[in-house]
């Protein structure tokens, strides 16, 4: 081919043959150059074949593109319309970026030039469109755009057709620029639909006037909202009505082309009507029209009608009208022979579902599921599960539906579905008994799906007691029923069942022996699967050693799950991908939730659980004494309680950490109120106005005057909005304004004091609280606190010099409230008694829970929230390993006892390092990825936002570690330190630095205990029953491990042991379990000590 002697004709011939060979399916990797040569031939045929070769064979990044571009440039400049046409076709076919660079500026000129021939204009328009699609950045907008819009008025319908495509695409990205196209398109459309069928001559297609152009114009109009100009709008409505009317006219031809073209326009018109979603009349007419098509003999029309109706169902105007076709759609589901049509029917049923027809639709989908094509079963299962949940009025129906799903299509029931039914059963106590009964019955089927065993195992483990009264479902029968399935199940299911068994041990003491026998059998204790073995060993041990109380705590019912978006819905979204149809459907669904109402939200447990209940407050950490009667609701009573208790509800909208700081200001007037990476808010008694812009590092002051109108409970919230680096920042901080800030100290003599004291003897005026001191009872510090609180400290007033008395007046706008206080310390008992009397009982009631009771024991401010938080092991591990790689401590340092403190707080893990003399924060890290759910911690352990807490909020100096176990610092010793201010953070202090056990965090199987799903995925809430071990149980376990009966565990040795210990301790985070921790210490250390690192 490279032969120069080859003349143009031969070149053309051979290039053509190459093309032919290519089109027969063979690869061609030569001849390109010859084809490029042909481009510059003067002969039309040679040029034409050259261009064809390039169009078909040259992909957009060929190196020949420069040569090709040159040839094209010449042809474009030739003014020969045929050559220009070829060149434009070639650009449109190749459409590469290089071509866009070369011609994107040129083509608009050709397009709008007055002397360009119509056919060239058409090619130029579509050529530009192609380039705009490839490289929108290279096509310059300019004054040509307005002239392009006017092509809509062109006399040549071919030009209008081509231009409409271009304008539609451009208008999608630049709606403003092409706004004028709306009225032009409407008038053009109007002229077409009203024209007689012969007017448009060759542009009439089977008696339908310009169907392609009509469809394109209707598409263009869908880039815009309904026209604002009433004239244009009226004209458009007329057009749409005409199109709808024509659908009712008898066909002008029996040919399918006629009906297709006519209906193509009709469907596009309906799309526009749905897009505008503003004319109820048109929407209902469209719906009726589609209803007719639902029964049309043409499969294509039925398919399209189902598809369009799906989007129509999302409009509130037509939702009801769509619903009237339910029987037809159900019929389609049953009788359509084409699976893609049935699929559309399923989609439509899903879209039209609301509370009124949910039961019917779900029933139909369930019955369809029995015969459905395998390819769409999973999707149907998801849809049924979502509908059943969303429209369940009666949750027994929901439970029945899901169990039916599992029965009919168990293999297609994904984890999300059965997780969800368990979440719902756990969160709704009205359905628990029913669920237990139903799963029990379902499990009696001789062959039931493994998913049913999972659901059944879980639910009976939690709620089997609810049906145990019936002799037909006695504990033993329940157990035997479950255990009869055990051997048929996979390892994860067996693991789940083992957890059910240990739950049974707690629920039904009478079957304990039976269960222990099962656990003790070799098939469990020496199971080859490490997870099963470990569970069996631990559960057996736990059931043997732990007292009933511990068992009851450990195996308590699962706490309610926080409400969240259904994971099933997320799965369906994921499955369907990001196509527009689904988006519509999704948005429809979301809207329909509003329209039809979802299930009542199950109250989230977090806020309730995070406030320590009085009974849980064994160590007095929360230190908020319970009110005997509710505080008067006058001004929203309870604010101060909210402030000083660790209530999450009050914290939620506020900046993290501000709540902690807040408490410090009860007795102080200056300090840092809020701080993060960007902003620090300080507080001073007197300050000046602020400049609107704050330089980095600069300090500004803003004066806030506060007047107390009456006694109050809500502390004012300071909203600070500012821009930083272009992004908008919003910080809300509670101003530390509490009632006592308006105290005026009042000095009085002993006689006056006691006289007034007696005057305020009305029981409602007095509050008293007796509480334990949590810090050394230092007289001077206590005095400072009382003064800081705002009252005067009255010396030599009380006959007992050890007592403190104070007096003050709270000034509000309307009244003045006298306030007397008396604090009686008892050094032997380390207790205080605080008595407050005020002249206004609401104030007394408030002061009953007064911050003083918090402050006087000199409790250090809470460093971090006590609310336990999610936990990311991977993060934890890497950080730990980083820690390990640090240089070894110097000799002097190594003499110190090193501790590692792991505090779990709101989305934050703190690692403190230090010794008994003090602590420093060495690491702090935050939860980011979906965390695990620590089951023991009621309410806390779900994926919260993971808000970072700035390091500085930690106040290392205020940390007073109490070392509960101090023992010889050998490298193998597990040191447990109870950290008072971290509260329930259980601290595992050990010589981690060189500890090999770090390497095995992942493999040790403790994920299960932390709620990780057996399949290893970490993004789901833990639904596996997670036994919760109080520390005492841990001690039990650890001591259990040193026996010789560990079977396969020996090879895993102490690593596993140690990590289990870590895991278990982290489970001990509930306040009520802290006491158990104390009990566990000696045992724990003993247990660990026998493990030689």
């Amino acid at each position: 081919m490279g032969d120069k002697a080859l003349d143009g004709y031969s070149k053309k011939k051979y290039v053509c043959k190459l093309l032919f060979i290519f089109l027969l399916g063979h690869d061609i990797d030569f001849g390109h150059m010859e084809a490029v040569n042909l481009l510059s031939s003067n002969r039309y045929t040679e040029k034409q074949i050259g261009y064809l070769f390039i169009s078909v064979l040259v992909n957009s990044n060929s190196e020949l593109i420069r040569l090709i571009n040159n040839a094209i440039k010449n042809d474009l400049a030739s003014r020969n319309p045929t050559f220009m046409g070829l060149a434009l076709h070639c650009i449109a076919n190749v459409g590469s970026r290089e071509m866009a660079e070369a011609f994107a500026g040129e083509i608009p000129k050709i397009l709008v030039a007055g002397d360009t021939m119509d056919s060239v204009k058409q090619s130029a328009a579509l050529c530009l469109l192609r380039l705009y699609r490839t490289s929108p950045d290279l096509v310059p907008m300019g004054d040509w755009t307005s002239r392009v819009v006017h092509l809509l008025n062109d006399q040549h319908l071919g030009v209008v057709t081509a231009a409409t495509s271009l304008i539609t695409t451009l208008a999608q990205k630049n709606p403003e620029e092409f706004k004028t196209s709306v009225s032009l398109a409407v008038s053009r459309l109007s002229r077409i639909v009203t024209s007689a069928s012969t007017d448009l001559q060759d542009y009439t297609y089977y008696f339908v006037p310009a169907p392609w152009l009509s469809v394109k114009l209707l598409r263009l109009l869908q880039c815009y909202p309904p026209p604002e100009d009433p004239a244009v709008r009226g004209r458009l409505t007329e057009c749409l009505e005409t199109i709808l009317n024509k659908a009712q006219e008898p066909p002008k031809s029996k040919k399918v082309q006629h009906s297709n073209a006519k209906n193509a326009v009709l469907f596009e018109a309906i799309s526009l009507i749905i897009h505008h979603d503003s004319e109820p009349n048109l929407l209902v007419r469209a719906c009726n029209q589609l209803g007719q098509f639902l029964q049309h003999r043409e499969t294509n029309l039925r398919y399209l009608a189902l598809e369009s109706m799906c989007t129509l169902a999302s409009s509130e105007f037509s939702h009801e009208a769509v619903k009237t076709h339910i029987e037809t759609v159900i019929n389609a589901l049953k009788t359509e022979r084409d699976v893609s049509v049935r699929q559309r029917a399923v989609d439509l049923l899903y879209a039209m579902c609301d509370r009124s027809n949910a039961q019917q639709i779900v029933a139909e989908m369930l019955s369809y599921l029995e015969t459905a094509d395998y390819s769409i079963r999973e999707e149907i299962v998801l849809k049924v599960a979502i509908l059943a949940e969303k429209y369940a009025v009666d949750y027994t129906w929901y439970v029945d539906t899901i169990l039916n799903l599992i029965r009919i299509a168990g293999d297609y029931v994904s984890e999300e579905v059965w997780y969800r039914v368990i979440q719902i059963v756990i969160n709704r106590d009205d359905v628990q008994g029913y669920a237990a009964k139903t799963v029990f019955e379902a499990l009696q089927a001789p062959a039931c799906h493994e998913n049913l065993v999972k659901v059944g195992g879980y639910i009976l483990g939690e709620f089997g007691n609810l049906i145990a009264g019936d002799p037909r479902s006695s504990p033993l029968i329940q157990f035997n029923l479950l255990h009869s399935k055990f051997h048929l199940c996979s390892v994860p299911t067996r693991a789940l069942l083992l957890s059910t068994y240990i739950k049974f041990v707690n629920l039904f003491p009478e079957v304990k022996a039976t269960i222990q026998d099962v656990l003790r059998s070799d098939s469990q204790l020496k199971n080859a699967d490490v997870e099963l073995q470990q569970r069996a060993v631990e559960y057996l041990r736990l059931s043997t050693v732990a007292s009933t109380d511990i068992l009851a705590t450990v195996l308590e019912e699962m706490p309610p799950f926080p409400e969240r978006e259904s994971s099933i819905l997320a799965k369906l979204k994921k499955k369907k991908g990001p196509s527009t149809v689904t988006d519509l459907e999704e948005s429809k669904r979301e809207r329909s939730i509003d329209v039809n109402g979802g299930p009542e939200p199950v109250p989230a447990s977090t806020s309730a659980a995070s406030t320590p209940s009085p009974s849980a407050d064994l160590l007095g950490l929360g230190a908020v004494p319970p009110a005997p009667t509710g505080p008067p609701p006058s001004s929203g009573g309870g604010l101060l309680v909210d402030v000083f208790s660790d209530s999450a509800s009050a914290v939620a909208p506020l900046a993290p950490g501000s709540e902690d700081n807040f408490a410090r200001f009860v007795c102080k007037n200056n300090g840092v109120l809020f701080e993060n990476q960007l902003l620090q808010i300080g507080l001073k008694p007197n300050t000046k106005p602020v400049d609107p812009t704050v330089d980095g590092g600069a300090q500004v002051q803003q004066v806030v005057n506060i007047e107390c109108v009456s006694d109050f409970t809500e502390a004012p919230v300071l909203n600070i909005q500012f821009r930083y680096g272009g992004t908008f920042q919003n910080v809300s901080v509670k101003l530390p304004i509490t009632l006592n800030k308006f105290f005026q100290p009042t000095e009085m003599a002993s006689q006056d004091f006691f006289q007034r004291w007696k005057q305020l003897s009305n029981p409602q005026q007095e509050v008293q609280n007796i509480f334990k001191a949590k810090h050394p009872m230092d007289t001077e510090i206590t005095k400072a606190k009382i003064i800081g609180f705002g009252s005067a400290l009255l010396e030599e007033v009380d006959p007992n010099p050890a007592n403190f008395v104070g007096a003050g007046i709270i000034h509000t706008k309307t009244t003045q409230i006298g306030c007397l206080l008396r604090l009686e310390p008892n050094l032997q008992a380390q207790m205080y008694r605080l008595t407050l009397r005020t002249s206004k009982d609401t104030v007394s009631q408030r002061l009953y829970k007064h911050p003083l009771s918090e402050k006087l024991p000199l409790k250090a401010p809470p460093v971090l929230h006590l609310q336990p938080a999610p936990w990311v092991w991977r993060e934890y591990r890497t950080q730990f390993e980083k820690g390990c790689s640090r240089p070894a401590p110097s000799k002097k340092e190594s003499k110190k006892q090193r501790h590692v403190f792991i505090g779990l707080t709101q989305g934050c893990v703190a690692m403190l390092d230090g010794d008994s003399s003090g602590l420093e924060v060495c690491d702090l890290w935050f939860e980011q990825s979906p965390p695990l759910r620590l089951p023991a911690c009621h309410g806390g352990f779900e994926d919260s936002g993971g808000t970072p807490i700035p390091l500085k909020l930690l106040q290392p100096h205020s940390v007073q570690p109490r070392q509960l176990v101090s023992e010889q610092p050998t490298p193998a010793v597990l040191t447990l330190v109870f950290h008072e201010t971290l509260g329930l953070a259980v601290i595992l202090g050990l010589h981690m630095r060189n500890n090999p056990c770090l390497g095995s965090l992942e493999d040790s199987g403790f994920h299960h205990r932390l709620g990780k799903i057996p399949d290893g995925s970490s993004s789901r809430p833990g639904l596996v029953p997670c036994p919760v071990f109080p520390a005492s149980a841990l001690g039990v376990l650890i001591s259990g491990y040193d026996s010789q009966r560990l079977g396969g565990l020996q090879e895993v040795d102490g690593r596993r042991l140690c990590m289990t210990a870590v895991a278990l301790f982290l489970c001990c985070l509930r306040m009520s379990l802290v006491q158990g921790l104390f009990e566990a210490m000696p045992m724990a250390s003993k247990g660990i000590a026998c493990y030689k690192c």
């Binding site: 076919n93 590469s96 469109l129 192609r130 319908l157 152009l213 193509a264």
Partner: protein, 148 residues
């Protein structure tokens, strides 16, 4: 429109036109999958199907399948008529077209398609205008041969 394929009942590809940039490998994969999917469908089934995130519109004429891939918001029925109009154009040009015409005069099939559809959009719907353009080109061809 993203692409158009013509293939025979035996699955032989007769014409392909791509309006989106794809690598040869992708093109081959798509072709293979799609030909299989479409050939597996029964005659009375509807002409539309969802495939990946595209909509496929296909129609069979004698031994040839015409198959178009359109985007989500595109109109299925009008695409069906694009196919039909193209068939009509071929038919008119060749005089009752058959598969062999397209095999042996593939360049004409491409030229006609380019006149009718450009960049995946309808350029000229008038049968007369399209054929006029093709005939003119043919005339040029004659002239250039006479001239040479």
């Amino acid at each position: 429109m993203q692409f158009m394929l013509l293939f025979s009942r035996q699955g032989k590809l007769r014409l392909q036109k791509w309006y989106v940039p794809l690598s040869d490998k992708e093109k081959k994969k798509i072709t293979r999958e799609l030909v299989q999917t479409v050939l597996a469908r029964k005659p009375k089934m509807c002409s539309f199907l969802e495939w990946r995130d595209l909509k496929i519109v296909y129609k069979r004429y004698a031994s040839l399948y015409f198959c178009c891939a359109i985007e989500d918001q595109d109109n299925e029925l009008i695409t069906l008529e694009i196919i039909h109009r193209y068939v009509e154009l071929l038919d008119k040009y060749f005089g009752s077209v058959c598969e062999l015409d397209i095999i042996f005069n593939f360049e004409k099939a491409y030229f006609i398609l380019d006149e009718f559809l450009l960049g995946g959009e309808v350029q000229e719907t008038s049968k007369k205008n399209v054929l006029k353009a093709i005939e003119q080109a043919d005339l040029l061809q004659e002239v250039s041969y006479l001239g040479s």
